[in-house]
């Protein structure tokens, strides 16, 4: 039955930044498709809530407090995953942050912090998990990038640059980890999440007018693309970028006055 190709039954997925927002949407979509989850995040309370929702769907959930910028925490997270489940089939590098900065007055510390949060974490998790997947001769890595990687990102220069770097890393790792491990990226457009709630409040109505499909995204929109990329339905797909964005062609940062 062809729809079985989209199933994640029997698969174990690590999703970073899955306490809320897009990461949570992906974790819940994966659980709905049959996977067991390792939910990694810095935020303890929200993490337990997400794990609870996954278990309510009848799937296994291991919440792990983990800051993806810390090598030791990433190693500990992977070890916990393997102890609990024995294997890791999917890694979703979703943890990240998009603070608004004035580029010309931001500090070096702020620049480096943004790069760390959005690029280095993806590198550290991929570096840790990929050898397990290569050993298994199977695995799918899904990097959550952003449309901001391709568009001018006013007010989010470091975020945009870091996500563009994630796109590049996706292509490079797709070749280095071939043929058994696939690596792809999703580039979300404006999705409603706790991280951007305040900004959406301010620009939401104006923003919708710029989106062909007439609405802002929800985490499940990204979750469904992630299910495609995590499953064997995308067996012949690697090194590619997938925009899920309602058709939007230009970015609106908070520097755009509504």
């Amino acid at each position: 039955m062809i729809l079985d190709r989209f199933s994640l039954a029997g698969k174990v997925a690590i999703v970073t930044g899955s306490a809320r927002g897009i990461g949570k949407g992906i974790a819940l979509a994966f659980a709905g498709a049959g996977a067991d989850l390792v939910c990694a995040d810095r935020r303890v309370e929200a993490l337990d809530a997400t794990a609870g929702e996954i278990r309510a769907l009848g799937r296994g959930a291991l919440p792990v407090v983990c800051d993806v910028r810390d090598e030791q925490q990433v190693a500990d997270m992977l070890r916990a995953a393997l102890v609990e489940f024995g294997h890791v089939d999917v890694l979703v590098n979703n943890a990240g942050r998009a603070p608004l900065r004035d580029t010309l007055t931001m500090t070096l510390e702020e620049w480096e912090a943004d790069i760390q949060a959005n690029l280095t974490g993806t590198f550290l998790c991929s570096r840790a998990v990929a050898p397990v997947m290569v050993d298994q001769r199977a695995g799918s890595i899904v990097n959550i990038s952003s449309r901001e990687s391709q568009l001018p990102s006013r007010g989010m220069a470091a975020y945009g640059a870091a996500k563009a770097a994630v796109d590049s890393l996706t292509r490079t790792l797709a070749w280095e980890l071939a043929p058994h491990v696939r690596v792809n990226a999703i580039l979300p457009g404006p999705v409603s999440t706790p991280m951007n709630a305040a900004w959406l409040q301010k620009v939401g109505d104006h923003l919708v007018n710029t989106i062909p499909l007439g609405r802002i995204g929800v985490p499940m929109d990204i979750g469904l693309m992630a299910v495609f990329l995590a499953s064997s339905a995308s067996d012949w797909v690697t090194g590619r970028l997938f925009e899920v964005d309602g058709g939007v062609e230009f970015s609106h940062s908070a520097t755009h006055d509504a």
Binding site: G214, L224, V237, G246
Partner: protein, 262 residues
Amino acid sequence: MVLDRFSLEGKAAIVTGAGRGIGKGIALAFADAGADVVCVARTHSEIEATAAEIRGLGRKSLAISCDVGDEEQVETMVAKTIEEFGGIDVLVNNAGGGIYRSFLRLSLRAFESTLRTNLVSVFLCTRAVARHMVERKAGSIVNVSTRDAIIPCPGLSAYGAAKAGVNSLTRTLAWELAPYVRVNSIMPGGVLTEGSTAVLEPVKDRLVAGTPRGRMGKPEDIALAAIFLASSASEWVTGRMFEIDGGIEFVHLEPGDLAGPQ
């Protein structure tokens, strides 16, 4: 249930070029995913065979013989589909193809014929179906383009140009037909089909060596992406090109490297 979002249950789809290769793969996969399918191509025996296989899967299917480069035949085909199925939910513009010929040996006739088969056909089919979809306020159009539209392909100048046109149409129509009708395209890499296998045989090893996934494509690989784009799983996706190609970047081939007439 998340997996229900990928289902095509209750949907009626038109697939052009459904008699063989990728088009046949898409038609059968759609049926497996729950859709009723109208199989369109010039060779009636081939599409009738596809339609019979679809009925064997328990879905409804109609085989309509049609030259998708002919305006009147296309309008008739669409009218017949609406009459039989009441509505059209998905259009897959897959019909097309190209012959390998060096540019300097290409006649105007061959160039225009390639444009008609690959680009004008997409215009004609989409125009006829989109009117209806916009009225119903629902629909998904999936254009089967090719990686040859975005990378240099010696010997496929006309085909590449026509498909690059299909890519552009995809982006423009995504805006013109919004918000109710979505338009996306798939760019397949090297897929082995009845038509392509013999032609690609002499260069298969080179293509595979240049493909991270280490294999050539199958019609099913493209069909699975088409199911995603046809279903509500891609509800927030429009105007986009899905590269389904095993990760290949560029393998330099010349027409003389391939088998078959050039």
